[in-house]
């Protein structure tokens, strides 16, 4: 049963985000930060001014429920973006991010991204679009999970929940993620 809902491998390269040599150089120039296995990258509620690209390892995103459990929001691998809301809003971190194994991230300050956009840097445009798409993807996936869980709580049949859940797990992840993964230098 669970195999049915395993996220499908990304089936498409980045149609909407074209990353060339300038973008690759920009990302390669970003400062790196490392986290040991289990170490928090940031906590839910922390102020956030940085977005991060995962260049090694995986990062688990969670929120703490009223029952004191960690609700899984996603597992972000190499090429993935975390903290993307920091690029878009002044809101505090909406989830806790924790390293699964050893993790290295490339860090981009919001101020630096906005300054790059002010100078009409095309790399900034690509990154902004990537952040926006990640947020949209997560909104759609969260709404799908809400629909599935609400239906389950209201007594829907397993088949009805299957249908709702299928939408959540077959949504394409951010297109940037797949694309970056193809060329991100091994770190």
């Amino acid at each position: 049963m669970h195999r049915l809902f395993r996220s499908k491998p990304l089936s498409m390269a980045a149609r909407n985000i074209q990353l060339g040599e300038p973008e690759k150089r920009f990302i390669a120039s970003l400062p790196r930060r490392e986290y040991g296995s289990g170490a928090p990258v940031f906590h839910e509620g922390d102020p956030g001014t940085e977005l991060m690209l995962v260049v090694r390892g995986r990062v688990q995103l969670t929120r703490r429920t009223a029952a004191g459990e960690d609700l899984a929001l996603g597992l972000v691998g190499v090429g993935g973006v975390i903290g993307e809301l920091a690029a878009l809003t002044d809101a505090p971190r909406t989830a806790t991010a924790r390293a699964v194994g050893d993790v290295r991230v490339a860090v981009l300050e919001r101020r630096a991204l906005l300054e790059a956009m002010a100078t009409r840097d095309p790399v900034a445009r690509a990154l902004l679009r990537a952040c926006a798409q990640v947020v949209v993807h997560r909104l759609r996936r969260t709404r799908d999970l809400v629909s599935a869980l609400r239906a389950e709580r209201e007594g829907a049949s397993p088949e009805q929940v299957d249908q709702l859940l299928m939408r959540a797990v077959t949504r394409e992840e951010g297109l940037l993620i797949d694309y970056l993964h193809q060329w991100m230098p091994a770190e």
């Binding site: 049963m1 669970h2 049915l4 809902f5 909407n16 995986r58 688990q60 969670t62 929120r63 429920t65 009223a66 029952a67 459990e69 960690d70 609700l71 899984a72 929001l73 597992l75 809301l85 878009l88 809003t89 809101a91 909406t94 989830a95 699964v100 956009m117 002010a118 009409r120 900034a124 445009r125 902004l128 679009r129 952040c131 926006a132 798409q133 947020v135 949209v136 993807h137 997560r138 909104l139 759609r140 969260t142 709404r143 999970l145 809400v146 599935a148 869980l149 609400r150 389950e152 709580r153 397993p158 929940v161 299957d162 859940l165 959540a168 797990v169």
Partner: protein, 164 residues
């Protein structure tokens, strides 16, 4: 019709500098709909942000049930210019209506003409989506007020508990 004023009052854009709103007003497209004409239908590509300038729209689901109405100033499709998808509902004009549209092509034109304005518009749209993401996340947390082991559907339970 004062497009700048209409756009400036639209909630996702209320914090934009007026100059950026003016730049935006020059790329949006105005569409006129007759009574009964569809703005979009189920399974149509969802690629545009729509702002109703005048008239009225009804929103229907796959079973043709009325699920909402849109009045002047109302808007739909905030995510569409950022990450296109497929419509899961339909929108029909119930009287002669005019709708402003902002799609990826129009956003692309704005990037070419005035990149700083395009960046601000894209940030404004994404910021609105982020607000909706916050609400959806809170709704999900509200549904998780009981221990996750009480979720009966095994795959759903596994997804919600998939903490490594």
């Amino acid at each position: 019709m004062n497009l700048v004023s209409l756009l400036a009052r639209c909630p996702p854009f209320t914090d934009l500098p007026l100059r950026a709103v003016a730049d935006l007003s020059r790329v949006v497209e105005l569409q006129a709909l007759e009574t009964g004409e569809r703005l979009f239908w189920l399974n149509d590509p969802s690629e545009r942000f729509h702002l109703l300038a005048s008239g009225a729209l009804q929103l229907v689901d796959a079973s043709r049930n009325l699920i909402g109405t849109v009045e002047p100033g109302g808007f739909l499709g905030v995510t569409a210019p950022l990450l296109p998808a497929t419509h899961t509902i339909g929108a029909v004009a119930v009287e002669p209506s005019r709708v402003l549209g902002l799609g990826r092509a129009q956003l692309g034109r704005l990037w070419e003409q005035v990149p700083p304005a395009a960046a601000l518009v894209e940030i404004a749209l994404a910021g609105w989506v982020a607000r909706d993401l916050g609400r959806a996340g809170d709704e999900l947390m509200g549904l998780c007020d009981q221990p996750l082991r009480t979720v009966r559907h095994p795959a759903l339970r596994a997804i919600l508990r998939a903490v490594e």
